[in-house]
Amino acid sequence: MATYLEFIQQNEERDGVRFSWNVWPSSRLEATRMVVPLACLLTPLKERPDLPPVQYEPVLCSRPTCKAVLNPLCQVDYRAKLWACNFCFQRNQFPPAYTGISEVNQPAELMPQFSTIEYVVQRGPQTPLIFLYVVDTCLEEDDLQALKESLQMSLSLLPPDALVGLITFGRMVQVHELSCEGISKSYVFRGTKDLTAKQIQDMLGLTKSAMPMQQPRPAQAQEHSFISSRFLQPIHKIDMTLTDLLGELQRDPWPVTQGKRPLRSTGVALSIAVGLLEGTFPNTGARIMLFTGGPPTQGPGMVVGDELKVPIRSWHDIEKDNARFMKKATKHYEILANRTAANGHCIDIYACALDQTGLLEMKCCTNLTGGHMVMGDSFNTSLFKQTFQRIFSKDFNGDFRMAFGATLEVKTSRELKIAGVIGPCVSLNVKGPCVSENELGVAGTSQWKICGLDPTTTLGIYFEVVNQHNAPIPQGGRGAIQFVTQYQHSSTQRRIRVTTIARNWADAQSQLRHIEAAFDQEAAAVLMARLGVFRAESEEGPDVLRWLDRQLIRLCQKFGQYNKEDPSSFRLSDSFSLYPQFMFHLRRSPFLQVFNNSPDESSYYRHHFARQDLTQSLIMIQPILYSYSFQGPPEPVLLDSSSILADRILLMDTFFQIVIYLGETIAQWRKAGYQDMPEYENFKHLLQAPLDDAQEILQARFPMPRYINTEHGGSQARFLLSKVNPSQTHNNLFAWGQETGAPILTDDVSLQVFMDHLKKLAVSSAC
């Protein structure tokens, strides 16, 4: 094992895990002094083309409170056919099927390279995937047209046996029955009335009592298929009907008078969608896909009234406690989200409008169920169209990149407890010996439900070291954690993925260097950022920033090398060197700063931040900037105003935006048309290079980023200017007195100033 960097990378590739600390402080006291908690980023379904699933059930520890899965870390007595659980030390008999095992004939789960292994299990009937479209019809004509086309297109992308359903809404909510000939039939609900799940099921005729049963026994099975067939149909059967139905979909016919918003019953529509699936297909994989073009304006879950003169709430309103619908609406959607999660279904929200659409209130629907949240200006944009298409992308096996109804169980060895999880999940409220009382994120449980997830869905999992200082761990002792993820694969198989990892314990007093060297500053930054964003959802922004700052200062105090009260002596080792910079950008990021963002945008950004993997998360915290010039091949440059030079083309990736920025000179050249002249073909290539690279990013990214092509002086250049470190501003421009870079009109502190302050505070003995 060469370096920690390689170790970390290997581990990530094999297990989809990145720990903040890769050597663990061995006592609670020391662990708390490390400032950054012991935590990891787990990508439960990380794509592993090299890992074919095994076709049998996992072997479990027989202790009822443990039930850990047999793994390579277990001690095995091949002769006695016994194995010892490495979490509870219970000795277990191998099941009969394992009689043939020996040192040379090991089952896969005992081999070290299978620290992550996937089991395919046969349990229960396999139900096809379900896709329930919930479509807003209060759209502009061309928007609706574009949406209809996207939806029709999506029908061809769905698995052929998938069940689909359609709910449309505007002033009313219509649940379309898909099995009718000769007449199109729908059930209509008032958009202003909240209905219980029971009422919805009664009204849709989904309850058993609604069907007089002549022969109770045999009717049972038939009935179920009958019920489902009315609103949810296999796509291959009703492909044409649904295509026609979507084609005939009209804009909401109710007149909207001048100065009013259309009445949009999003709250009820979602409620009905949830109720419908709840009644028909509980605990099977299902996506509710909500397409909306504006804020809910009536009924439960309304976010804004229909008077246009009253604008939708802003952060300012919220701070002033002036968002009169927010609390109630949020509550409505939270209840729905929790119900959906309990049923194992997930909700996607595709919101395309120029104004806000109420994502702030509705965010829990996606955040608690693992659904997607997509925000765009219009359905008639490639941003939406391609993003939507990408939902149905397939992996190397030809399987859809989606999984449903997962439960994640975390088991720890005795020295550790689980403090909580931050990610698109809900608690299953399973208490156990390894659940910490110290809560971080979604806490108080050792199991979580993730209703919708894809190969990149990443959770931040936080632990607490509970080993007492006076109970030293034997030399060479290792702590172990096992992640057991049971889920429904997109092929409808039930699968279980088990990842078992172990790390060394170290005594922080004697082996601090080890611990320090094993610090994963990237993971730590993201994990701390998740904590910060999680807090920001419930706390005032400044408090969160103060908390982050204090943590950073404490970390620097703990791990920096300096002489007291001498800022200039401050040094950080390599494994920490980038961490302050991440924090600097995090403080400026839209995840924590709401200034200049609408509440919807903040919710959108935070949504994605809480589920992307480490690489993407880092890009979100600190965007990547590439520079293209005649001086050499493209190179990453500092995210700094000094990088903005006249003869460069810059490509910035903030995850949500891809910005191509032509420097002043380049822009002039292009304007002069040099790229069209044969003798300046190299200029043409230079112009093309960032476009190609951007395309590559666009291809892979979900959701599609906003693609911005701008140049020096362009209005869209603000996307770049707002992100770079303002090392040159109108305040200090003359002090620098150089022509390099571009001054940023801001009063924000630059990284340099930030670092100066940090050093000063770190070395000060005052705090």
């Binding site: 007449i183 729908s186 009335k193």
Partner: protein, 1019 residues
């Protein structure tokens, strides 16, 4: 004889016995003849009589009394040479108006003489009749000497009328004395029957002479009964041989009264130029000419002469009421209503009472101002409306403006009269079909859908328009509702299911209500699909209130008035507002709680009706019950919203579909007004206090109706709040603001002037029995909701007795207590009242279906006079004596079993049912001719249609059935009844003069009973 018939019957009560001896004198009435004959000195001055009788000179067609004014009015009428409306030509006016009027005074006596068997058989009776007219005259004639009283009669009419113009006609009134001559001369024939004057004078309170005249006849009659009649009715008729039973022929016959009126006034022109004239009976066909008062087709009154004071009214206990049918159909030979358009200014109205400009407004000050005939307020004439007056103070444009010269006309309403000051949208019809299991199974849904395809072609439209402006919509339902989008550009209809029946709403706006012509293809597609769509449904629960709610909401959303056609068949037991349970508890019958059966089960329907009316949503309900469905609850909304309730018990496709389809077609095509508010204004001294009908009232004056069609009548009761002047009379203006079928807002105005008199006799003389029964039926049926039936029946009997007793006491000449004396105008009141009392609503019998009682109760509440007359006293026509060449209806016979014969075939109709009764020995050629079978035994009674035979009998019978059916609001289902077979029981219920199947006295018994009451009252 001379007089109008007052009938006298002498029931066999014991107390009357002693009277026998004394009675003869009592019987004597003076009629006209008496005046003429015995006390000539007295009589001659009794001008009024004379004045009344002048008509004798003219063809002796009798007419109801009260004609004194006619002369003058006739003059007035004839003085309208410039009348512009193409109605009657002035010449006709003269002729026609005179013709009927003048005879009227003597009306009574010619008729018995000329026509009736009644008079022939019981001529003594006829002689004994108190001529209400005569009797009424008597007091007046007695007090003041003749001339003044004559003046009094002529006086009142005079001022308004420009009699100067008509000197020629004026001639008539003056010579009363001479006219008396003829009267006297005509008297002899009757006098012959009454041989010697009897000595009863002594008993006569004040009129010895007259009694002397009549006594003898009576005596003859009386003689018959000493034979002894323990309790049975005494018979009046048979002087020749004493009978045990009162001869039914001797008691007043409705048929006779109808035939008399027909004979006298049938086929003639009746001009409405005279205040307070009594119109022909509803059963009489005549041409009505509007000359300043509303046609009796629109308004009929219980009496056309109001008592001057409330004391008088209380004394007589005759209800003062008008039965208003504002949208009544007028036959093609009568002029339709004129439409007055004053542009943006709208109708001219009195500033104080808001009455509309009408012939009762008096222009003064050279036409610059006018005095309101209702409140007497003097108003300025709006400049645009100014017109000079002619030398008699009448506007020069009198005949050019309908509102100045006609009793009925329409105004174009301005935006002020519209909801939200917006012109209304054309109305919509929504068809709402119960598609629950039973309706699918019995084929009803298919039948309706098929029929709608053709019937929708005939949506009502304005005459000048190509297509109907009415839009249509469709809803089906069982325990949920299905709305249909049938927009013309759709390839196929769309169905939208609303399951939230707890709080129903309209799921779509565009495409629900459509123009039939435009969306025909989609609609037909839908109607084809509906029966199949639910073919597999085994849902048998239904909702009801949400259905109405849905229709109402749809109309509300479309911002238009309209009508819902609901086809429903079961008790709505599904969980929803208005859910009903079976509460048909026969144990309640004949208890104080019986009224509960007539009340709706829940107040949901009441508030629903209120909402419907507020939004101009009328509900017509077609019910197809196979068991108890709680008509009292289901029918409430139709009733209060001016809709119609149709009920087909145990609907069977082959028997009932024709009746249902006829009803459906008829109902769709009906003339109808929507979103109506009616206001009845009266001149000072009295006011409308109570309203009965398919109406809803939020306050005490505005009668709101979601819709009102040509068959719906509102009965309005009036009460005094001050004295009425004989000069000014009692004026009524009924204004109905409504929306036409093409979406125009209009005002329909009906004006009617009534007389006032301080003489009770005038009041009795001007009564109309048919209207009285209409009023009594409605007020009794309304009271059914609140009072025990027993009490209501008692009240009816008491009031009947009281009215008659009052007459006896105050108007009739003194006579023996044992005599029953009926005013001429109320001769048949007892028999009709008995029919009312025997109606199943008022009969507390558990055998009768609760639903049927609730149904009939509701029907009667909206009936007009003609309908109620037929309903309570069915028409019974002998068919076996048909003259196949005649196009007239055969003369009806009285509804009694004794009128049937084994050799006869009879047709009976009451407006709801029709029966063809076949005697066991019916002539085979008739049976062959009608049924195309050889004999009675071969007749298949299980059909509602007569076979197509083509024989003259068959054609004639069908023609008669058509005539009977014409213009009746309900299609009558024909039942074939063979004598002595089971179904005859049903038929017998309609022989209303007989003892009722479920109790209720026979006519004769009832008459005795009433007489007894009267006697008690008089004592």
């Amino acid at each position: 004889m001379m007089s109008q018939q007052g009938y006298v019957a002498t029931p066999p009560y014991s107390q009357s016995q002693p009277g026998i001896g004394l009675s003869p004198p009592h019987y004597g009435h003076y009629g006209d003849p008496s005046h003429a004959a015995s006390p000539p000195g007295m009589m001659k001055p009794a001008g009024p009589l004379g004045a009344a009788t002048p008509g004798m000179m003219l063809p002796p067609g009798p007419a109801p009394p009260g004609s004194h004014q006619f002369g003058q009015n006739g003059a007035q009428a004839s003085s309208h040479p410039s009348q512009r409306f193409p109605g009657p030509s002035p010449v006709n006016n003269v002729a026609s108006s005179y013709a009927p009027y003048q005879p009227s005074p003597q009306s009574s006596y010619p008729s018995p003489v000329s026509t009736s068997s009644v008079t022939q058989l019981g001529n003594q009776l006829g002689a004994m009749q108190i001529n209400s007219y005569g009797s009424s005259m008597a007091p007046s004639s007695q007090g003041p000497p003749g001339p003044p009283s004559a003046a009094a009669f002529q006086g009142p009419p005079r001022p308004p009328q420009p009699s100067i113009l008509q000197p020629g006609s004026q001639v008539l009134p003056p010579p009363p004395t001479t006219l008396n001559g003829p009267g006297a001369s005509s008297a002899p024939p009757t006098a012959q029957y009454q041989p010697p004057p009897l000595p009863g004078q002594t008993l006569g309170p004040g009129f010895p002479p007259q009694q002397a005249n009549y006594g003898p006849q009576m005596a003859g009659a009386q003689l018959s009964y000493p034979g002894g009649f323990p309790g049975g009715p005494a018979q009046m008729a048979g002087p020749p041989q004493p009978q045990k039973k009162l001869d039914p022929d001797s008691i007043p016959s409705p048929i006779q009264v109808i035939e008399n009126d027909r004979a006298i006034r049938g086929g003639q022109v009746y001009a409405t130029n005279t205040r307070g004239q009594v119109p022909p009976l509803v059963t009489t066909d005549c041409v009505i000419q509007d000359q300043g008062n509303a046609s009796p087709r629109y308004i009929r009154c219980t009496t056309y002469c109001f008592p001057c004071t409330s004391d008088m009214a209380k004394q007589a206990q005759i209800p003062l009421a008008a039965v208003i049918k504002p949208f009544a159909t007028v036959p093609p030979n009568e002029t339709p209503l004129y439409l007055v358009n004053h542009g943006e200014t709208g109708p001219v109205r009195c500033n104080r009472c808001k009455a509309y400009m009408c012939p009762f407004m008096q222009f003064i000050e050279g036409g610059r101002r006018y005095q309101c005939g209702f409140c007497n307020c003097v108003n300025d004439v709006p400049p645009f409306y100014f017109q000079h007056l002619d030398h008699i103070g009448r506007r020069l444009d009198h005949y050019e403006k309908p509102e100045l010269s006609l009793g009925s006309y329409e105004y174009v309403a301005t935006l002020d009269y519209c909801r939200k000051n917006k012109p209304p949208n054309p109305p919509a019809f929504i068809f709402m079909i119960d598609v629950s299991y039973s309706n699918i199974k019995n084929g009803l849904v298919k039948l309706i859908c098929e029929e709608l395809k053709t019937v929708l072609e005939k949506l009502p439209k304005e005459e000048h328009e190509e297509t109907s402006a009415i839009r249509v919509g469709f809803i089906t339902y069982n325990k949920v509702l299905h709305f249909f989008n049938v927009k013309s550009n759709l390839a196929q209809p769309q169905m939208m299911v609303v399951t939230d029946v707890g709080e129903v709403f309209v799921p779509l706006l565009d495409g629900f209500l459509v123009n039939y012509q435009e969306s025909q293809a989609v609609i037909h597609n839908l109607l084809d699909q509906i029966p199949e769509m639910f073919a597999d449904s085994n849902e048998n629960e239904t909702v009801f209130a949400p259905v109405i709610q849905a229709g109402m909401e749809a109309l509300k959303a479309a911002d238009c008035p309209g009508k819902l056609f609901i086809f429903h068949s079961s008790l709505p037991t599904a969980e929803a507002p208005g859910k009903l349970k079976n509460r048909d508890d026969k144990k309640l019958v004949n208890t104080d709680k019986e009224k509960i059966l007539f009340q709706p089960q829940t107040n949901v329907y009441d508030s629903l009706a209120k909402d419907c009316v507020a939004h101009g949503c009328s509900v017509t309900l077609f019910l197809f019950p196979s068991q108890y469905v709680d008509v009292a609850s289901l029918g409430l909304v139709p009733q209060l919203t001016g809709g119609t309730l149709y009920k087909y018990n145990n609907f069977q496709m082959h028997l009932d579909s024709q009746q249902f389809l006829n009803d459906l077609r008829n109902d769709i095509e009906k003339k109808i007004g929507f979103d109506a508010i009616m206001r009845v204004r009266t001149s000072t001294g009295f006011r409308a206090t109570d309203f009965f009908g398919g109406i809803f009232m939020n306050n005490t004056t505005d009668v709101e109706m979601a819709a009102i069609d040509c068959d719906k009548a509102v009965t309005v009761e009036f009460k005094h709040d001050d004295k009425l002047g004989e000069d000014s009379g009692a004026l009524i203006q009924c204004a109905v603001l409504y929306t036409t079928i093409s979406g125009q807002r209009r005002l329909r105005i009906h004006n009617l002037g009534l007389n006032c008199s301080s003489q009770l006799a005038d009041l009795y003389k001007s009564c109309e029995t048919d209207a009285l029964i209409n009023f009594f039926a409605k007020s009794a049926f309304k009271a059914v909701l609140h009072q025990p039936l027993k009490v209501i029946r008692e009240i009816l009997v008491n009031q009947t007795a009281h009215m008659l007793a009052c007459y006896r006491k105050n108007c009739a000449s003194p006579s023996a207590a044992s005599q029953l004396i009926l005013p001429d105008s109320m001769k048949v009141f007892p028999v009709y009242m008995n029919c009312l009392l025997k109606n199943c609503v008022l009969l507390s019998r558990p055998e009768i279906s609760t639903d049927e009682r609730a149904y009939q109760r509701q029907l009667v509440m909206t009936m007009g006079v003609a309908d109620s007359q037929l309903f309570f006293y069915p028409q019974l026509l002998p068919i076996h004596t048909l003259d196949v060449k005649s196009t007239e209806l055969p003369a009806a016979v009285r509804c009694s079993e004794s009128r049937l014969s084994e050799e006869g075939i009879f047709l009976l109709a009451n407006g709801l049912n029709m029966f063809l009764w076949l005697g066991v020995s019916s002539p085979p050629e008739l049976i062959q001719g009608i049924f195309n079978v050889p004999s009675f035994a071969h007749i298949n009674a299980d059909t509602t249609l007569l076979p197509e035979v083509g024989s003259p009998y068959s054609q004639q019978l069908k023609m008669i059935m058509n005539i009977i059916q014409q213009k009746k609001p309900y299609s009558m289902k024909l039942m074939i009844v063979k004598q002595r077979e089971q179904p005859e029981m049903v038929f017998r219920q309609f022989l209303v003069e007989d003892k009722g199947l479920y109790g209720g006295p026979s006519y004769v018994d009832f008459l005795c009973c009433v007489h007894k009451e009267i006697c008690q009252l008089l004592n």
